[in-house]
């Protein structure tokens, strides 16, 4: 599907994270012996490969590369391997449920490593199941999340999402919500003709969403802003947004 003129992406993609996470860990946090741990499915293993390639570009070799099955509940063996091989940090790529378990088990085993990963580390679902001590200090790079916003409108929207769907709003919720309203605005402008909608999406420029502006590029990607977050206790803080160069 890649390269199809009918395919558009309204959330930052994993390829961006695979580049940015190692870069931030090595260049900003000064870590040079990371362990990599990812969920063993197409999502996690693809990211793990990308992260290893990005580390190689930075001339950094991972201390250990581990994975766990999506149904795995006990990741202690993988964590002990990473610790035994002398890692100074952990790049963690998974979904909120398993990322929660990894962080909990690291804490149980007394393994203290600077941890950085995808937005699961700052997802509300993850934070709800961790203590402040367990969550504290974890870094994440990913799509913009609503929890760090102080805008009353966004805070109210997050609350309404939680009340209606019983699920905390996250970066994906923001993306889906924005996508519906982006399409609505385009359909109002160009009507229901498929080709006209596609052309309008491909020409989208500075369309203001909840947290970011959307702008189409030649690949059909509309989202180009990511956030770097750090958990202070159970509260994620925005260290800074990253905008892709050229936008």
């Amino acid at each position: 599907m890649q390269g199809s003129k009918w395919l558009f992406r309204t959330h930052v993609h994993d390829g961006q994270l695979a580049e940015l996470i190692p870069e931030y860990l090595v260049k900003t946090l000064g870590k040079t012996k990371p362990g990599i741990m990812a969920v063993a499915d197409d999502y996690g293993l693809g990211a793990s490969k990308g992260i290893q390639a990005a580390l190689a570009k930075l001339k950094v070799s991972p201390a250990a590369v581990a994975s766990y099955a999506p149904s795995d509940k006990d990741m202690s063996a993988q964590l002990l391997e990473i610790k035994d091989k002398g890692a100074d940090s952990l790049i963690l790529f998974g979904r909120p449920a398993d990322v929660t378990l990894v962080i909990k088990q690291m804490n149980d085993l007394g393994i203290k490593l600077t941890t950085i990963g995808n937005s699961s580390i700052v997802a509300q679902t993850t934070l709800n199941n961790l203590s402040a001590a367990e969550a504290d200090g974890g870094y994440a790079i990913g799509g913009m999340i609503p929890q760090t916003s102080t805008d009353a409108k966004i805070m109210d929207w997050s609350k309404r999402v939680q009340d209606k769907y019983k699920v905390p709003a996250d970066n994906f919720t923001v993306s889906y919500y924005d996508t519906v309203y982006l399409l609505k605005s385009i359909i109002e402008k160009v009507g229901c003709d498929k080709a006209a909608i596609r052309d309008a999406l491909a020409a989208a420029k500075d369309w203001k969403g909840m947290l970011i502006s959307y702008q189409a590029d030649g690949q059909g990607d509309l989202a180009h802003t990511l956030g770097i977050y750090r958990n202070k206790g159970k509260t994620p803080e925005l260290t800074g947004p990253i905008k892709e160069s050229g936008y």
């Binding site: 063993a40 990741m75 449920a97 929660t100 378990l101 909990k104 149980d108 199941n129």
Partner: protein, 288 residues
């Protein structure tokens, strides 16, 4: 190495508890309950509703969960076992699988898809010994398994009702002929077996979180453990559980973490090839 042993034994203790519940029912009515894992999940969520949603003390949440699970066990028996009693065993087994799916979907509707943590009933800093970290919850898991084993041994061998249960397990029809209240005995087996699953759920939820789909894998591991130990053999199930926990943990560390779930089935096949009745197999293993 020591840390892997502790973690493997803690994981194995959970498998052993699931297997004990499974075998208690099997030994009484010769039916493998493939919904045992989903009953574990139900126990975890009842505990969470009490301790997290309604903020009751964790000890009270445990007590309520155990009573609720005993009732669930009896309802399960009435809905699944009694209507199909005397029919081919595979019909009952299929029904238990269907009940597992029903329970999973009910949990999804009631509690939602997100994982939830349950506080451990024991708190305190972990114990450090020769470079090994043992959490208070892990110590609690070992203690719980030991207490349940002792209680079960005492109940089955030293109490009148336990001996009646064993008699029912050996020959249901003769037991009925000599005046043993067979239905009451079966009800106790279902209640107790389900309570054991509930306890396993309460022990799992603080370390692995609870979610509606958590039961499938754990229930299957409980079955594998029962086969490894020799189907029907309670001490065999415990040893099989601990053995599998260690195999999984060491396999994930030294071979590959990608095949963690596969180790259980590889070990089961290897054990069955070498010892077709399992490590401590009894005659009842022929009825599986």
């Amino acid at each position: 190495m020591g840390q892997l042993v502790v973690n493997g034994l803690a994981l194995g203790s959970i498998y052993a508890l699931v297997a004990l519940g499974l075998l208690l029912i099997f030994n009484t009515v010769q039916i493998v309950n493939f919904a045992q894992g989903q009953l574990l999940m139900l126990g975890a969520f009842i505990g969470i509703s009490c301790a997290v949603t309604h903020e009751l003390p964790v000890a009270m949440a445990w007590a309520i969960t155990m009573v609720a699970m005993a009732l669930v066990g009896i309802v399960f028996m009435v809905l699944v076992y009694f209507p199909l009693r005397g029919r081919p065993a595979f019909l009952v087994i299929l029904t238990t699988i269907a009940m597992g799916i029903v329970l999973e979907n009910l949990a999804l509707i009631v509690w939602g898809p997100l994982p939830v943590s349950l506080p451990s009933p024991v708190r305190g800093p972990p114990v450090h010994f020769a470079g090994v970290v043992v959490s208070m919850h892990q110590i609690f898991i070992f203690a719980t398994l030991a207490v349940i084993l002792l209680l079960q041994f005492f109940f089955l061998t030293k109490t009148r009702f336990g001996i009646l249960m064993q008699a029912t397990a050996q020959d249901l029809h003769t037991a009925r002929l000599v005046g043993i209240p067979v239905n009451r005995t079966i009800a106790v087996a279902f209640a107790f077996g389900t309570v054991l699953s509930g306890i396993a759920g309460l022990l799992v939820a603080p370390i692995f979180l609870a979610e509606p789909t958590m039961g499938g894998s754990l229930g299957l591991k409980g079955f594998v453990v029962s086969v490894i130990g020799g189907f029907g053999n309670l001490p065999g199930a415990v040893i099989g559980g601990l053995f599998l926990g260690l195999i999984e943990t060491f396999g994930a560390r030294y071979i590959s973490s990608n095949f963690r779930d596969a180790y259980a089935f590889i070990v089961m096949i290897a054990v069955l090839v070498a010892w077709p009745r399992g490590l401590f197999g009894e005659k009842s293993s022929e009825k599986v």
